[in-house]
Symmetry: C2
C-alpha cells in the first residue's frame, strides 16, 4: 500500500502492520538521497541507526507492543539538539566535530515514544538570524523554489518536512526560527509556551527566549509530536511543572465559541500585498468557524539586549579562545552582548517578565490572536547575499511578527494559508494564552480542515 | 475582659464583641508610647488612622459583618512597604519624606481582611544587612536585652511583636531578614516560598531573593496572616499563579507521618554551645512528633553577586544623583554591584535557578528540614559598632543559616526554642518544599504546642 505523508494517517497503518517502519524509513532515506543534494536540508543522515531503530519498532509492533502514534515514524532534528554519539554541530565550524555523549531530553522522549531518528537538519550557524546568515555547511534551499531561502534558523527542518524527507522535525524558535521557515516552506510550525518543552541538551541562543517545537505536514501531526515532547524536565530550569493537556483530543473540540483578536496595528503594517490578500481570505474562512473576530491593540515588546547578552554569556569563553571559528557576522552579533551591564540586563529581563505578565490581560477579551506569520514570502538567496548591512532590513522584517511571541512566551503556530502568484507558500500565525496549545491547535486544525490544505498538498 | 496576645485567641473575642477593636488598638498605642522610646521599633505611628480603622471594624463587627480573624487586629509594617499617604522611608535619608500614593499589594490585602494598620517599623537602611548597618532613624533595641540588637533588617517588626506593641508585623526577607530578628527577639518569623506573597509596592533589595512574610507571637498567627497576604498578584512579576492552601486548617493535621532531615554539615558547624544545646533539645521533642529524623547532606548555594547586581540596578540612578543620602557602608555594598557584567549576572542567575530546581530532590527523601535559625544569640550593639571591617564576620555568621533558603526559594519559619543562660531567645528553623507552607506550619505548630511556648511566654 502507498505510504501516507501525514503522521495521523501513517500511524494507524503502521499499527495495523499494513506498512512497516522499515519501509517508511527506507522511503525517507531514498527521498533524502534524491533531494538533499539540491536542498541541503540535512547535515548528517543517520541511515544505519535509523534502520536499526525502524527494525526494533517493527519487532515491537509485530509483537503487539505499539507505543503510540510516533512508533516507527522517522523524525529529524535541528542540528543543535544533542544526540548521543552523533555529531551535533550547530552548523558551526567550532562544533563541526562535536559528538555529545547524551541525548537531549526531547530526543529521549521521542525515542521513548518509538520515533526513528533519521538525521540532523541544517540551520544557520548557532541558530543566529532568520535569513541572511549562513551555515558552515552551506545554504538550505526552499523546496518550492530552490533559488529562495527556506527561512531559519530551522530552515533545514522546514525544507525536510515540506519535501517529504521526514514526517516531522524538531526545531528551535528564539525569535521565529520554527514559524518563519514553516511559513516560507509551506508546512506547520509550532512554538509552544515558554517552558512547555525541555531545552535540556539543546545548544542555546538565548535562555529566556528559546523554545523547542515541531515542524510537521499537518496540525494533527504537530499535536502528536508536541504530546511526546511536552512536559516538565527536572534537569531544565526553563521548563515549568504545569500539567500537559491531551493535544490530539483537543483537535476534535469545537471552535464555535472561540473569540479571535486581530491586532491590525504593527502586525498588519507594511505587508506584501499577496500575503495580505491570503491572510484576509483566511480570516474570512475563520470568521465562519468561530464566535467572533475583532480588532485588538497590543503593546508590542522587543528584546534585543536580552538576547545578545544571553548569547554572549554562552559563547564568551569560545569567542575569546577561537574567534576564527565563528563567521564574521555571527561574531559581530554575539559580541554586541559583551558590553551589556548586569544593571541593563536586569532591567531588560524585568521588562520581559512584565510583558509576559501583562499580555495575559488580552485573553480576558479574546481567546486567540491571528496575524500573518511573515510580512513577505521567501526572499531570493542571491538578494540576501549582499553585504550584511544591506540585509538587515529584510531580516528585521522577516522576524517582525514572530519575535513578540517569544518575548510574551505565548504558544504560536504557523499554518499554510495559500500561495503567491509565483507559487511561494504563505503562513498564518495563530497564538493563544500561556499553556493553551490545545486552543491554538484546535483553531489551526479547524482552519486546515476547512481549507483542506493537507489533502490538497500533502498527498503523494 | 483581658486582651489575649495572640491573634488566634483575640479573633474569637473580637468576633463575639467581648472586646472592641478600638480597645485593642488603644492598648497597642499605649504600649508603643511606653516602650518605643527605648526600643525604637517604630519610625511612624499612625495613631489617628489606626483608631479610625478600628472604629470602622467595630461598626462592621457590631453589624455582624465579621471579615475573618484579622478583622480589627492591629498590625505593623516594615517601613519599606508602601502605604498610601503615609511616608515610607526604607529607614533612609533619601526617602525620609517619601509619601507613596498607593498601598502595597500586601497592605491592600490586609486592609481587605479588616486589619488595622498601626504604623511603620524601623529597619536597616534599605534593608541592607542583618546586623551591623544602621537605620537613618537609629538602632532598634532587643526587648529581651536593650543593649543588644533586635536583628534585621526587619528588627523593628520583630521587636514590636515581641514587646506586644502589635499583634503581627509584615517584614521582608532577602537573606534572613524576617527569620533572623524573629529568632533574636523570640517570636515567630515566616519566609514563604519565593513568589507566594506579592512584593508589589515593596522597596526592593534583590528581586530574585526578596520575600514578604509575617512576624507573629505564635505559629497559628503566622498561618492567619499568611492566609491574608498569600496569592497571585497580576501586577507583580515575582508572584506565581499557584493555588493557596488553607494554612489554618493545616495546623490541625497530624505531624506523625512527617520525615525530618537534619543537614548537620554546614548548618550545625560552629554553633554557639547554648544554641546547639537548645536545638538538640528541640530535636528530641520533634522526634516524638514525627515519623523519622535523619541526617541529610545539602549542596549549599550562595548568591552575593546576584544580590549586589540587582540592588545596584534599583539604586543606580539615585546613587549617581545623591550619593550623600546614603550611609557609607550601604553605598559601598550597593556599589559592589556596579561592575557586574550581564554575562556574570546571567550565569549567577542560572546557578540560582539550578539550585531552586535541584533542592527539590531532597524532598523525595524527607518532608522538612530543621536547622538552628542563627548560629549565635543576639550580639551586643556596642560590639557591632566597631569598624565595618570588624563587623563583617559576625554579619556573615548571622545570616549563614537563613540565606540558602532565599536562594532555594523554600518556605522557612523560625520558631522560639529556648533561651540562653542570660535570657536571650534562640530560634529553630523549619523549612519545607516549595509551596508547602502548610507542612512547615504544621510541624512548627506541633512543636510549639508540645513545648507550650506561647502559653508560657506570650500571656499578659
Amino acid at each position: 500500500m502507498s505510504i501516507p505523508q501525514a503522521i495521523f494517517e501513517l500511524a494507524p497503518v503502521l499499527r495495523a502492520k499494513a506498512v512497516s517502519p522499515l519501509e517508511v524509513t527506507r522511503r525517507c532515506l531514498e527521498r533524502i538521497e534524491k533531494l538533499n543534494p539540491e536542498l541541503n536540508a540535512f547535515i548528517t543522515v543517520c541511515a544505519e541507526s535509523a534502520l536499526a531503530q525502524a527494525r526494533a519498532a517493527e519487532t515491537e509492533i509485530t509483537r503487539g507492543e505499539w507505543r503510540g502514534p510516533l512508533h516507527g515514524v522517522p523524525i529529524a532534528l535541528k542540528d543543535l539538539i544533542d544526540t548521543a554519539g552523533i555529531r551535533t554541530t550547530a552548523a558551526s565550524a567550532l562544533f563541526a566535530n562535536r559528538a555529545p555523549t547524551k541525548d537531549a531530553e526531547v530526543v529521549r522522549r521521542l525515542k521513548q515514544a518509538g520515533a526513528v531518528i533519521l538525521g540532523k537538519n541544517n540551520l544557520h550557524e548557532f541558530a543566529y538570524g532568520g535569513s541572511s546568515l549562513v551555515s558552515h555547511f552551506g545554504d538550505v534551499h526552499n523546496p518550492w523554489d530552490t533559488s529562495r531561502i527556506a527561512g531559519g534558523s530551522s530552515g533545514g527542518s522546514a525544507a525536510a518536512v515540506a519535501a517529504g524527507m521526514c514526517f516531522a522535525a524538531i526545531g528551535t524558535d528564539t525569535a521565529g526560527s520554527v514559524r518563519e521557515p514553516a511559513a516560507l516552506c509551506g508546512c506547520v510550525g509550532l512554538k509552544p509556551t515558554y517552558g512547555r518543552a525541555s531545552t535540556g541538551g539543546v545548544i542555546p541562543l538565548s535562555w529566556s527566549l528559546d523554545h523547542v517545537g515541531p515542524l510537521t505536514a499537518s496540525v494533527a501531526d504537530a499535536a502528536i509530536v508536541l504530546q511526546a515532547i511536552a512536559g516538565y524536565d527536572p534537569a531544565d530550569i526553563t521548563t515549568a511543572d504545569v500539567p500537559v493537556a491531551d493535544y490530539v483530543s483537543a483537535l476534535s473540540g469545537s471552535s464555535k465559541s472561540l473569540r479571535v483578536g486581530v491586532p491590525h496595528a504593527y502586525f498588519y503594517d507594511d505587508i506584501d500585498p499577496e500575503v495580505a490578500a491570503a491572510v484576509e481570505q483566511a480570516l474570512a474562512v475563520i470568521k465562519t468557524l468561530v464566535a467572533e473576530i475583532k480588532d485588538v491593540a497590543l503593546d508590542v515588546p522587543t528584546n534585543r539586549k536580552l538576547q545578545s547578552a544571553e548569547s554572549y554569556a554562552f559563547h564568551a569563553e569560545n569567542v575569546a579562545k577561537s574567534p576564527e571559528k565563528y563567521q564574521a557576522e555571527t561574531l559581530r552579533r554575539i559580541m554586541s552582548g559583551a558590553n551589556v551591564s548586569a544593571q541593563e540586563y536586569i532591567l531588560r529581563r524585568r521588562e520581559m517578565e512584565e510583558a509576559r505578565r501583562s499580555i495575559r490581560e488580552i485573553f480576558g477579551n479574546v481567546d486567540l490572536l491571528i496575524t500573518p506569520t511573515m510580512p513577505i514570502p521567501a526572499p531570493a538567496i542571491a538578494e540576501l547575499k549582499k553585504t550584511p548591512e544591506a540585509l538587515r532590513p529584510a531580516e528585521l522584517k522577516l522576524l517582525r511578527n514572530t519575535r513578540p511571541f517569544n518575548v510574551w512566551g505565548l504558544p504560536a503556530i504557523s499554518v499554510p494559508c495559500g500561495f503567491t502568484q509565483s507559487g511561494l507558500p504563505i503562513g498564518l500565525q495563530i497564538a493563544g494564552p500561556h499553556w493553551r496549545e490545545d486552543l491554538v491547535l484546535r483553531l489551526a486544525h479547524a482552519y486546515e480542515q476547512a481549507t483542506e490544505w493537507h489533502k490538497r498538498h500533502c498527498g503523494e
